[in-house]
């Protein structure tokens, strides 16, 4: 996609979202759109790691949690300014990803996936056990919403603007990176690490950089999540969410920046769709339980029929 076309597309998306924030009254729909943006941001980071650096992280929920808890603890327990704490959260996400990546990126493929899996689960146990700071299993309350002067992002419509604004900005920036020299180096890396190395690309440094950027965007999403809900506890940041993020990226298609966002939309809508459709089909109270069966089956069917993801399908149709 040319830079011009991309910015036009982003501007169109911004106008649409702005209008949606003004017109949609249902907090249910707004909440769903906000979660698409937050998950999309986290998935975007991961799709850079998976699609462009060719690595799989099974612990991405840890960076979401780090973002949420750093910003949450700084504002709720220490009275920091909201934006300053979000900045600190993003920095913490980038730094922790860098530190994890430093030893780990000498590994490849499966070993890297394992190490990130381990990191994700360890962070989860720290959140549960380090009660003095994180509030333990019962969580952290009283996180203030973000505000600019007297304008507080405390309604769903305002949060929608903020979340989608951040997502579109991140998309635009990431698009620029992908089209740059670094992006070409990344694609070379994905194609063949050995050839990229031979062509003079510092592959380890590059992978580390991508991983740090993914940590930062995922932490940003986590921080916004904390200020949106004003309450956090460890349970949404477990291994299941890491898996869900990988699923979003793969569903959307790894080879495109929009893929992750598309995948996030599909996963959120699919979960909601199943939740609202199932009670119509069966009168029993077990609907909530059938939901995860259907989700698993749809996921399997989808991957079997469409191994390239949705973005792959769109490319084939075009």
């Amino acid at each position: 996609m040319t830079p011009g076309r991309r910015w036009a597309l982003l501007a169109a998306a911004a106008v649409l979202i702005g209008a949606a924030g003004g017109m949609v009254r249902s907090t249910y729909v707004l909440g769903m759109l906000i979660f698409i943006a937050l998950n999309g941001m986290a998935a975007l980071g991961l799709s850079l790691v998976m699609g462009f650096a060719g690595q799989v992280s099974l612990g991405q929920a840890a960076f979401y949690a780090i973002g949420a808890y750093v910003s949450g603890v700084l504002t709720a327990s220490y009275g920091w300014n909201g934006w300053l704490s979000v900045a600190a959260a993003v920095l913490a996400g980038a730094v922790s990803a860098f530190l994890v990546g430093l030893p780990v990126f000498r590994l490849s493929g499966l070993l890297l996936a394992m190490a990130t899996l381990g990191f994700g689960i360890i962070v989860y146990y720290v959140l549960v056990n380090w009660s003095a700071v994180t509030g333990g299993p019962s969580g952290l309350t009283g996180i203030p919403p973000l505000a600019v002067g007297g304008f507080r992002f405390d309604t769903d419509a305002r949060m929608l603007w903020l979340a989608w604004g951040c997502l579109l900005a991140v998309l635009g920036l990431a698009g620029n990176v992908v089209d740059s020299r670094i992006g070409r180096a990344l694609r070379a890396l994905h194609g063949s690490p050995a050839a990229a190395e031979a062509a003079g690309i510092a592959t380890t440094k590059l992978k580390l950089g991508v991983f740090a950027v993914a940590g930062a965007t995922t932490a940003l999403a986590g921080a916004l999540y904390a200020h949106y809900l004003t309450f956090i506890n460890p349970s949404p940041f477990g291994f299941a969410f890491s898996v869900e993020l990988v699923v979003m990226v793969v569903l959307g298609g790894t080879a495109s920046l929009w893929g992750g966002v598309l995948g996030a939309a599909v996963v959120v809508l699919l979960a909601e769709g199943i939740r609202s459709l199932l009670p119509l089909l069966s009168a029993s109270h077990a609907a909530a339980e059938y939901e995860i069966v259907v989700f698993g089956l749809v996921l399997m069917t989808f991957m079997i029929l469409l191994p390239g993801g949705l973005a792959g399908l769109a490319r084939r149709a075009a």
Partner: protein, 295 residues
Amino acid sequence: MTAADQLAQYLASGLVVGGVYALIGLGFVIVYSVTRVINFAQGEFVMLGALLMVTFESRGLGAWAAFALTIACVAALGALLERAAVHPIANAPGLTILIVTIGASIALRGGALVVWGTDPFALPAFSAGPPLHFLGATIVRQGIWVLGVAAAVFAGLWFFFTRTYPGTAVRGCAINARAARLMGIPVERMWLLAFALSGALGAVAGAVIAPITYATYDMGLMLGLKGFVAAVLGGLVSPPGAIAGGFLLGVLESLSAGFLSSGYKDAVAFVVLIVIGLVQAAGWLPWRVAEEGET
């Protein structure tokens, strides 16, 4: 209790849990060596083994009949998973197959939730009686059953892999699938066999551990991950390695729960996972953890 007794106690309970991790780890190893697939649903096989065992026994089946029926059901399910989901995309990238097995594990967990609900189920120990005392440690009778059944399974697998034709064929596929095909080994049927075997192993692990831990619909995830760590500890393609890895992990967990903090007990496995990765990267491991694509 003296410090030596305490140590003996932790070692004993660690070995019992380790036996279960070893069984689950073997399931990962058998599937991975033949197919290069990490079967994420392995932990769900364990969960189904535990819950089916409870159900069959409470319906009045004898313990041995229930055990046999449980193993047969989960083995058939493993085979079904291979035929219906893995086989059609056998040539897709590893990540795609991984996501499919993740989907299967989510669906199986949901299915168990529909059938059994969220209640934990207790299973009576295989044989009644007071706990046994051995070298200062106290072991519940079921612990002896776990170790005995695990040992019998290990011996049976050793016999199968080294002394029978199908076992040798499976090993052939694991070493080099293309050469195995050229030798006339039906590689596709070996994939099926590997998944059925891993289902059976999961079922055994679930059935023997149910009297110790309670059976719940969501027990599979953690047990599966622990079994995976056990398999990785042993190099991921080595059955003896997975057995050793399982026992080592069980003992490490038990020691850290006893001497450090029980809150972080479950994190031990994942610290181990990271450490193996780092140690391998530094080239200090006497063996290698197999990577996708290697033969």
